[in-house]
């Protein structure tokens, strides 16, 4: 990358600048005029796009970080090592965006630190707050070696490598708690939520769907960044990841339908209502289509089709989270919520900033490095760590 290239104006750069400028204006508007003026939220519908998309989807899409860490470092399937760094980076950026989304959504964001000293352990939101704080820290520590390598801080790097396994375990546990707790948030509204989405096992469902989507995110990132950087991510790695996604999608759907059957809710699938249609849409986009695609060997072994399958999994996941947090609650609130331009604009800004940050960091830090010239160095480092741990 040439140093001057950052200032060269391209079409996508111009689009990004416009989105970010509009977003910043919306932020100023939001904080000078209040939530009422900036959002379409009201007393009967207090949570909207920022909770439903920025937070629920942001955390879910960061799931690639912990799933790949588990596969590579706990199950020790080392061939996936090249995918860990980009996944951890995405997760870290995802969590930072979640925090910024939360700051926009909270009525008194300057009090956010209260969760550290004012404890209410009965609150799922309290659990969520702590998971965000701790896991963002863990993600930073997981990504720290990349920064340390870049600046050749070898002493610190050795220390980081010694503690990397416990940190990753902590990260996996925190993710497990956090992904599921976002489902638990909605356990408290059994009478307000549409029966097709309410379930006592929402936390389990959230966790399972996050794992499936986490792997899909890994495929998505590998494809898009390989296209941008010509890093030849090995196709067989992505095909193996796709198999795990396939299994998780089927398991998740099975759990969901068994649950609907046990709770005698299958009849809701036959009722004609906008909720039922949204349920089917979510099911087809997120489960039926990708399950079919990934069941075919020819699609599993095509880079393009893997990418398309991953897009469907991610799309279905986004629909599910938006359905849980918005669609399922509109009926009982008797209010058809649609986000305001300010809500949409701030969300678009956060996503854009995330993508720009990903690009800049991958250009300037050894995120994909171990793929080519860094490969031997990385495997040496792995050996070194094993030697230390076995002592």
């Amino acid at each position: 990358m040439k140093t001057g290239s950052i200032f060269k104006l391209t079409f996508w750069k111009a689009v990004a600048v416009i989105i970010i400028a509009a977003g910043l204006y919306s932020v100023v508007f939001r904080f000078s005029r209040g939530l009422g003026a900036a959002t379409n939220l009201n007393d009967v519908f207090p949570w909207g796009l920022w909770i439903g998309f920025d937070i629920l989807c942001g955390v879910g899409l960061a799931a690639g970080g912990f799933t790949i860490c588990a596969v590579t470092h706990i199950f020790n399937i080392k061939k996936f090592e090249p995918l860990t760094r980009p996944s951890i980076l995405t997760a870290f950026l995802g969590y930072l965006l979640v925090i910024f989304g939360l700051l926009a959504d909270l009525g008194k964001p300057w009090n956010i630190w209260h969760a550290i000293i004012m404890w209410n352990t009965h609150s799922v939101m309290f659990e969520v707050a702590w998971c965000v704080m701790l896991y963002t820290t863990v993600l930073f520590l997981e990504f720290a070696p990349v920064i340390l390598e870049r600046f050749k801080l070898n002493k610190l790097l050795m220390i980081m490598r010694k503690v990397s396994i416990p940190i990753m375990m902590l990260g996996i546990l925190l993710s497990t708690l956090h992904q599921s707790s976002l489902g638990s948030l909605f356990l408290i509204v059994p009478t307000k939520m549409h029966p097709l989405w309410y379930s006592p096992i929402l936390p389990v469902y959230f966790y399972m769907s996050a794992i499936a989507t986490g792997f899909a995110m890994v495929i998505f990132e590998s494809y898009t960044s390989a296209r941008a950087f010509n890093h030849g991510i090995k196709l067989n790695l992505l095909s193996s990841i796709a198999k795990i996604t396939f299994v998780m999608l089927i398991l998740t759907a099975a759990v969901r339908f068994i649950d609907l059957a046990i709770l005698n809710k299958l009849n809701y699938l036959l009722i004609s209502s906008s909720e039922t249609y949204m349920f089917y849409l979510e099911l087809f986009i997120g489960t039926v289509i990708p399950v079919y695609l990934l069941s075919q060997k020819k699609f599993r072994e095509s880079r393009k089709w893997l990418y398309i399958s991953a897009l469907f999994v991610i799309g279905g996941f986004l629909l599910n989270r938006v359905n849980v947090s918005i669609t399922s609650l509109t009926g009982s609130a008797n209010y058809n919520y649609f986000p305001s331009v300010y809500e949409i604009s701030i969300t678009m800004m956060l996503v854009t900033v995330g993508m720009v940050a990903f690009k800049l960091i991958t250009q300037n830090f050894p995120v994909f490095e171990e793929l080519h010239e860094g490969e031997s160095e990385e495997s040496e480092a792995v050996h070194g760590r094993e030697a230390i741990l076995s002592e």
């Binding site: 000078s32 009422g36 008194k108 609150s123 546990l173 497990t176 599921s180 638990s184 408290i188 009478t191």
Partner: protein, 252 residues
């Protein structure tokens, strides 16, 4: 032990005069929001409202649940259930996540949407007044005795007595006695409660139990999960090492 206080609202005695609405506004220094009390709705400036449903009237206000959902969901403990019964809110603690509003089964908490430093607002059962042994502003203002303030147990007995003595007047249900774990506000009616706009599908179990069942599994998940991850790491690491050693021996 302090005796819990409560409110009994008998909608069959209500004439829709709106005195409770006006008294509440005056007591809590709330801004005027509507010239007709019967046409208003709960908001950050309206803690109670009188609604007309055909020829029936009903009041709406915080139910002051026995096991309040708002107290349970607030991440920073901004809500408290007092010994006397009222559920209070502390704006200094609040971070503004609005989970209380999302979670409340009675849809009571309201928000200062137009403010840049917004608070949650709701009826506090005139806590400052009742602490001094007085009644609530709404009960003191009520000309027909439709809103009664008193010891919760006395009010429960009174409500049951009315249902028993006048079975033709009342729909045989005390709203608030068991809904979502019961509350300190009890409501009587001559018609089924959904006709007055009340949620008819509330479970008898207090809603905080629903999330407690998930939260209590956290220590188990951490314990079993931690052990599983450690065990898995040890096993697969060992397997890899043995495989590598074998390979090296083979190379020799």
């Amino acid at each position: 032990m302090v005796k819990q206080k409560g409110i009994l609202y008998d909608s069959t005695l209500c004439v829709g005069c709106g005195e409770c609405y006006n008294a509440c506004k005056a007591q809590n220094k709330l801004a005027k929001t509507n010239s007709d009390p019967l046409r208003d709705h709960l908001s950050a400036e309206t803690y109670t409202v009188v609604e007309q449903h055909d020829d029936k009237y009903t009041r709406r206000m915080c139910m002051h649940c026995q096991k309040p959902t708002c107290v349970s969901v607030c991440p920073v403990g901004a809500f408290t259930k007092t010994e006397l019964g009222p559920v209070l809110y502390d704006a200094d603690k609040c971070i503004g996540c609005r989970y209380c509003m999302q979670a409340c089964p009675h849809r009571v908490p309201r928000y200062e949407w137009s403010k840049t430093n917004p608070r949650v607002r709701k009826c506090i059962m005139c806590y400052d007044k009742i602490k001094k042994g007085e009644g609530t502003a709404c009960s003191e203002a009520c000309p027909t005795g439709a809103t009664l303030f008193g010891d919760l147990e006395d009010l429960k007995a009174e409500a049951k007595k009315r249902l028993k003595e006048n079975p033709d007047t009342y729909y045989q249900h005390i709203y608030g006695l068991e809904e979502a774990g019961g509350s300190n506000v009890l409501i009587l009616s001559s018609v089924p409660f959904e006709k007055l706009g009340f949620a008819a599908n509330l479970p008898k179990e207090a809603l905080p139990n629903y999330t407690a069942r998930a939260l209590e599994k956290i220590p188990g998940v951490v314990g079993v999960g931690g052990a599983f991850l450690t065990g898995m790491y040890w096993l697969t690491n060992r397997k890899n090492k043995i495989a590598k050693e074998k390979q090296q021996e083979g190379n020799k």
